[in-house]
Amino acid sequence: MDTNDIQNLKNRAIADILNCENETELEAVRVKLLGTKGEITQVVRSIGKLPIEEKKAVGRAINETLQIIRNELANKKIFFTDPKTTDTWFDPTLPGVKPQTGHLHLISQAIHEISTIFEKIGFNRERYREVEYDYYAFGALNFPDNHPARDDWETFFVDTKPDPQKGAVLLTPHTSSGQIREMETKKPPIRMINIAKTYRRQSDISHSAMFHQFEGLVIDRGINIRHLKGTLDYFAKSYFGPEAKSRIRPYHFMFTEPSFEVDFSCSICNGVGCGLCKEGWVEVGGAGMVHPNVLKAGGIDSTKYSGFAFGWGVERVIMMRPGIGIPDLRILYSTDLDYLKQF
């Protein structure tokens, strides 16, 4: 074997590679040349047996050949796998006609999610009035006549004559006004989830004059604080995930006794404590055991039945969802399509 033979071998090898029509053939050529029993492999093995004076020249020639053949093999392989080099080439990146995708509003999504969660444990969804008499919003809910919630700077009032019995006409500042409506039309057992638009005279980063609340009301025999805690915990886990927890702390509302503030474990930091929560807890809303005066106003015998109620903003739980990153509650009500199309 001399350098001439090697030159011939190289030429033949290159021709073989170029003649390949597909990857399988190319692989066969590669094995024929470079495999353990390949022609070139064998030449390489034989170098050792050559006289010293030939070794150097043959060695250099075979090294050069190896490099060229490897390059050719690689080039041919690219030729077979790169779509740009094939006959059936087409541009799969060409933009097509964009479909019109619909988008359900975040508020609707949340309302559906919340009602589904409660329906699973036997609650019926309701939606009570937005424009209501004082009686349902305050009077029957045990608010004294001069309670500050009735002030002009808290609640919107409708410019109309008050009803002699049921008082002024107003925009409900809470879904709690549905409690009495529910009790007036239904008898226990009651498991209601009332989701409706509510209104308060406020507008800032975490408030909008129009917002949505949901209100749970359960009335039956033997309802106690444990049931309220169980329900809150069930909601926290269903909405925020199995790691979520709830807790109640003392608070004050006119229509419940005892009353509670409801906290959920912070879903951003998983209850460890971060800049957005209070030592791992986030305040979400209010709850309590229905005040006997409210049961009485709803025509329910408070010696036989007891109940609990809870309520807070739909927007609040949307904003609390980890990763949603909406910095201002009023953005929820933006009608900019660039925002609406994101969800």
């Binding site: 619909g102 444990i121 019926n124 424009v131 009608t335 399509l337």
Partner: protein
């Protein structure tokens, strides 16, 4: 009510080793919510939220009292240190005379101090007041504020000599009376504000809210001081304070109904501080008018009742222990009933047995009560409208619709009927009315998005509010759709597809501006061309009542014969109606509009019978029928 109190001050009234963080954590679980602990100088400042019913906690002593009941429950020892007041010798004969014929103040208490030698507030008091957010002025004024925060009852200090004849007459204002407050501002009163007058009728104080300039102590000039406490009805305080926009700390206390018992304690404590700090030469006798003392209520409860509402068993002994720690008196009668009497500072918020449950439960610890879901019978008859609404929204989303929520509160210009539902106290003129239509809001959405978006359609489902005589307005749930960059025909096709998908079979009737959708003779909705845009409105109830479950139709196994027919047409013809007529002809399965140019149209006709494949002969007969109908009813000329 939010207040800030230094922890060192609380610890003057409470023995405990609790760290500020522990203190905050445990009190928040069972008592007042401590929102935050911050550092000031060498002290921890507690940021406390006190609910309106518990103004008794809005003080250093009040918080210490709560803590002494709560902390031991978490294994931290705590005990109250009682506040001691001295019995001072009367060395001045000066005293105030108070006349309250209308009974406007439950209690008034006053004491005169003369000739002080120090006006400077000690550093420790100044630091505490400033940490609490109160500006330090001079010792006499600062002492009143200090005692307010410590005891929880506001006080005022007058220049005794500026009160003519040393006589205060408690009265109500007449509309339009003016008064200059401590802050130098002039306030115009409405009628019925509670005020102090002197014997000439001049207003010399806005009791419980703010002093006035004509009776205030003047640094280094005043020689006789009247420390004074009053208890004006909370509702009156709230009214005046809100109307005048005077939300002073005193007003925030007094509008919640502070315990009149504390008035006397506060006067005594302030007198002690006055003597120590200001060093007066003479101290007068305390004048105390309290004609009808408040009597605390006694409430009867059984341990069974409490256990039932809590869902866990609590013993009489446990209840007794908890209530006594909170300052209640508990007596057990023979029947095992507990007779529980509230302390004076709780007489406002303890009214019914449920109030006792709350006290027992929170001190026992809400965190100790395990949650469980309810058992029992489930309510029936769910309201199905919500499932329908959900289906409607989803079918519109499937057609490419984008849902929006716009405000129910609109400007007068957005109303169809300006005699609609109007607010008496709107936040602005742009949100003065409850809308009677969704179209205007949807049009605005289209306009606001038109510059940066191409073709799109939005929809909203929301109430409109229609006035009803002598009743609440009707809240009518409407569905409104708005189409941008859609041809009117394409928009209508979306509506038709939506109606079909929703199970509604309706007909259409052209109007001047668009189409009405009818079921029988009842209009259930409409679509109109407004400017460049199509806007559609439907009443959700009408949709719901007319939505039917889809009935299966056998599919046609026979292939249709298809052909295109060209006609010359008359002007102002509703082609849609023509096509509906064509489809009424037997075995005309479908008609499509292929082309329309000038006064010529081409229809594509699908001839198809459910029974068999039609022959050319049969098709010819149908074609004849078709051209006859078009020519006689619509004057179309068939272009063979």
């Amino acid at each position: 009510m939010d207040l800030k109190l230094p922890y060192s001050w609380i610890k003057e009234h409470l023995v405990t080793h609790a760290t500020p963080a522990e203190f905050a954590k445990y009190l928040s679980l069972s008592g007042p919510s401590i929102e935050r602990v911050s550092r000031v100088k060498n002290d921890s400042l507690l940021h406390i939220e006190v609910t309106t019913n518990r103004v008794d906690m809005a003080s250093v002593v009040g918080i210490a009292r709560e803590a002494s009941a709560i902390l031991p429950r978490f294994g931290i020892k705590a005990g109250p240190i009682p506040l001691l007041v001295k019995k001072n010798k009367n060395t001045s004969s000066k005293k105030i005379v108070v006349k309250d014929k209308k009974g406007l103040s439950v209690r008034t208490t006053g004491v005169v101090l003369e000739q002080i030698t120090n006006w400077a507030t000690p550093i420790w008091m100044k630091d505490r007041l400033e940490a609490c957010g109160i500006r330090s002025l001079n010792a006499p004024v600062d002492i009143t504020n200090y005692v307010m925060l410590e005891i929880g009852h506001p006080l005022h200090v007058f220049d005794f000599d500026l009160i003519k004849n040393h006589q205060i007459i408690i009265d109500e204002s007449r509309k339009g009376e003016k008064v200059v407050g401590l802050d130098g501002q002039t306030y115009r009163l409405t009628s019925g504000d509670v005020i102090f007058r002197d014997v000439t009728g001049k207003i010399i104080d806005l009791p419980g809210i703010m002093g006035t300039q004509n009776s205030v102590v003047r640094p280094h000039q005043t020689t006789k001081f009247l420390l004074f406490s009053d208890d004006v009805t909370p509702q009156k305080i709230r009214k005046t304070s809100m109307e005048l926009g005077l939300r002073t700390m005193a007003a925030q206390y007094n509008e919640k109904g502070v315990d009149p018992q504390l008035g006397l304690v506060a006067i005594k404590r302030a007198t002690d501080l006055f003597i120590t700090i200001c060093k007066p030469k003479a101290v007068g006798q305390i004048v105390d008018n309290y004609p009808h003392p408040v009597t605390p209520k006694t409430i009867a409860v059984t341990p069974e009742f409490i256990s039932q509402k809590l869902g866990i068993a609590v013993t009489a002994l446990e209840i007794q222990k908890i209530m006594e720690q909170l300052g209640f008196i508990v007596k057990k009668d023979r029947g095992g009933v507990l007779q529980i009497t509230a302390p004076s500072y709780r007489s406002g918020d303890i009214q019914i047995p449920e109030d006792i449950i709350e006290e027992v439960a929170r001190i026992y610890g809400y965190h100790q009560i395990d949650g469980t879901l309810m058992e029992g019978v489930l309510p029936v008859n769910p309201n199905l409208v919500f499932d329908f609404e959900w289906a409607v929204k989803n079918s519109l989303v499937n057609l490419g619709g984008i849902e929006v929520y716009t405000s129910s509160l609109v400007a007068k210009g957005d109303m169809i009927n300006t005699k609609g539902v109007k607010l008496s106290n709107p936040m602005g003129s742009d949100t003065e009315y409850l809308r009677d239509n969704l179209s205007t809001s949807i049009q605005k959405v289209l306009v606001n998005n038109s510059k940066k978006q191409g073709k799109f359609f939005v929809f909203e489902m929301a109430n409109t509010y229609l006035p009803v005589k002598n009743n609440l307005p009707e809240e009518k749930n409407m569905l409104c759709l708005g189409f941008a960059d859609y041809s009117f025909s394409d928009a209508t096709e979306i509506i038709k597809a939506f109606l079909t998908k929703t199970g509604i079979k309706s007909t259409t009737q052209p109007t001047i501006t668009g189409l009405n959708f009818l079921i029988g003779k009842n209009t259930i909705g409409e679509i109109n061309l407004i400017g460049d845009c199509a806007i559609a409105n439907f009443a959700v109830t009408a949709l719901h009542t007319n939505a039917k479950l889809v009935t299966y139709q056998p599919t046609n196994p026979n292939s249709p014969q298809i052909e295109d027919l060209k006609f010359e047409i008359a002007p102002r013809i509703y082609l849609g109606e023509v096509m509906t007529e064509m489809e009424k002809i037997i075995n005309v399965a479908k008609v499509e509009l292929l082309d329309r140019f000038d006064h010529f149209v081409t229809f594509r006709i699908y001839y198809q019978s459910p029974d068999k494949t039609l022959t050319d002969k049969e098709v010819a007969r149908i074609r004849q029928k078709l051209t006859d109908v078009l020519s006689t009813q619509f004057a179309f000329k068939y272009q063979a």
